[in-house]
């Protein structure tokens, strides 16, 4: 996600992008920074302590999030952290606690709340257009990112497909259908490829499912559907794309981790970052808060536990 956020920051007029530091900087991101005349190094502490900063954007591998959030908060900086906030609920809570203690704001990149179709469906559901929501199905597919960036294939670093991809849909489902009572999941791995299915029983009775894959040779796509006594709403990124390129070899063998690419008039990644930075500057808060981010991580943790034990799990109990 570093490249995506670097491009947003370079385009965001009111923001002065001071520079980039990370334990590992990809050649592509280094080149982008060099082109803009910005420093890019592995000296994170140096950048955080350089003075003159208001906020920091964290877009590193997931296992580094808790430590980096803590360091940024310790330096008195507001933090935008890419999702997931941590690998488990304990880590995510610690990150929130560090920011609270330092008196800085924490925003997390739950960008699906900024994808127009997902936001519209949630609005329509909240307006009662389908009656009391009964069932939701979320699908999120791509090739294996671990083939391009090996850390994704290491469950200790990424949390696997359930945490890395699923946390998007868990956050959206919590936002749309409310808290979850029970989690049941199945998953399977083949090398860097993984698939998982997570079924959630929400308080009040609604049932949702999240279908996840890092084995899709057709590349990245998502779909969502919600139904109730009053009707059905759905969206599929494949049939609603306004632009696409079909390469001779999509998905597997892709030179980059597959991330939707925004255009100036339609870029959810830009919008979420602009909202967060605006909040840091005294504007209204973004669409999700830090507690929402913790809840999504907790749900992902419960789903991983359920997938490994093949038993049904109560979220929030996984860390106990």
């Amino acid at each position: 996600m570093a490249k995506t956020h670097v491009l947003s920051l370079l385009a965001m007029a009111p923001v002065k992008f001071a520079g980039l530091a990370a334990p590992e900087v990809s050649p592509e991101v280094a080149k982008l920074c060099a082109g803009a005349g910005l420093p890019a190094s592995d000296d994170v502490a140096g950048l955080l302590g350089s003075g003159g900063l208001d906020a920091v954007v964290i877009a590193t591998p997931t296992d580094t999030h808790p430590q980096l959030v803590e360091e940024a908060a310790g330096a008195g900086l507001h933090v935008f952290c890419e999702k997931p906030l941590g690998l488990d609920e304990t880590q995510a809570r610690a990150a929130v606690g560090a920011c609270e203690q330092a008196g800085v704001k924490l925003a997390v990149g739950h960008v699906v709340r900024y994808f127009p179709a997902y936001a519209k469906i949630r609005d329509l559901v909240k307006r009662g257009e389908i009656g009391s929501p009964a069932m939701a199905k979320c699908r999120r597919m791509s090739g294996a990112p671990g083939e391009v960036r090996p850390w994704y294939a290491d469950g200790q670093r990424s949390g696997g497909v359930v945490t890395d991809m699923g946390v998007h849909d868990f956050d959206w489902l919590l936002w749309c259908l409310g808290p979850v009572e029970r989690v049941s999941a199945l998953s399977a791995e083949r090398g860097p490829g993984q698939v998982a299915m997570v079924v959630l029983a929400h308080q009040g009775g609604a049932i949702s499912s999240v279908e996840l894959s890092w084995m899709d040779p057709t590349g990245f796509w998502t779909a969502v559907e919600v139904s109730g006594p009053g009707g059905l709403l759905r969206h599929d990124s494949r049939s609603t794309a306004t632009f696409r390129v079909d390469r001779a070899r999509a998905g597997a063998g892709s030179p980059e981790v597959e991330v939707p690419v925004g255009e100036p008039l339609s870029d959810p990644y830009y919008d979420e970052l602009a909202d967060a930075l605006g909040w840091f500057g005294g504007g209204p808060p973004p669409r999700g808060n830090a507690d929402d981010a913790v809840a999504a991580v907790a749900l992902a943790e419960a789903a991983r536990l359920s997938a490994s034990t093949r038993e049904t799990v109560t979220p929030g109990m996984a860390s106990a």
């Binding site: 399977a188 079924v199 049932i207 049904t312």
Partner: protein, 325 residues
Amino acid sequence: MSRLPVAMVGAGHVHAPGYLRWLSASPDVDLVGVYDPDPARASELSRATGAPVLSSVEACVSLARAAVVCPEPTRQLALAEALAGAGLALLVEKPLGVSPSESGALLALSDKVPLSVALPVRYHPGATGLRRAALDGSLGDAVAVWATNRNRFPGGWFADLSLAGGGCLLDHVVHVADLVGWIWGSRWSSVRAEAGVLHHPDLPAEDTAMVLAECSNGMIVTVDPSMSRPDGMPGALDLTMRVWGDRGVATVDIFAERVEGFDGAGRFRQELVGADMDAAMLGDWVSSMTRDLPPPVPASEASAATWLAFAAQEAVASHSTVRPV
């Protein structure tokens, strides 16, 4: 070859009219008549298809060598037992019984007479194509199957538990469960499920469900059998499967083949086209029974598929994982 004398015994199931139309038109079948516990229904079907009305099971037994048993699910076992007692070959509507004990009783009948079960999706090109891809290695090892078999609420006896015997788990899990068993030869090793009466709050049994299951060969399978499609939605009935293999992914959409159109007022319409799987199933059954071949879809396989529905019902009630005894 002489025509196979066939009776339809019990015609309350939604599939009965279609089966009866095929039987009445087939040159290989002598349709001796239709019996239903509700004489008015038998008369109505008789008017529609020309099949004579039969007034009792005994009348069916005296005229037919084989019977299609297609009543509401809770009426299935008694009719099948009476016919098997008289030695008729049977084609029984799915699911195989509405409870584990009824399923066992129907399975026991298959020791006495040739008993095939109406699981027509096996004959659909989407299913035969998947089976070929699974067997010829083009998918590699199958890892997971994500399936839906959804519909609108069909109305009628589905709202009457004394006739339906269950909700959407009983009605719609069995097709996908049978395809998985038929294609991969696997058994079920664990089942979890969530379900509720959520889309049609007045119904007596679940209309919304998700099933998670593991197979003996390590495959993981999920089925959504919900009656979640709104009334009037085009393409409300679906049967889809996404099969993740370590060398590729297969997608099946049994009702995908259609023509879409709009009239001058912008109203949408669609017509399903393509293969007639019911005709293929009935043709295979008639051909097999005429030649004294084994039943094409044996009760043992339908019993394994129906077990997944019973296990899911139990998992819903207990909020825990159900495993075969």
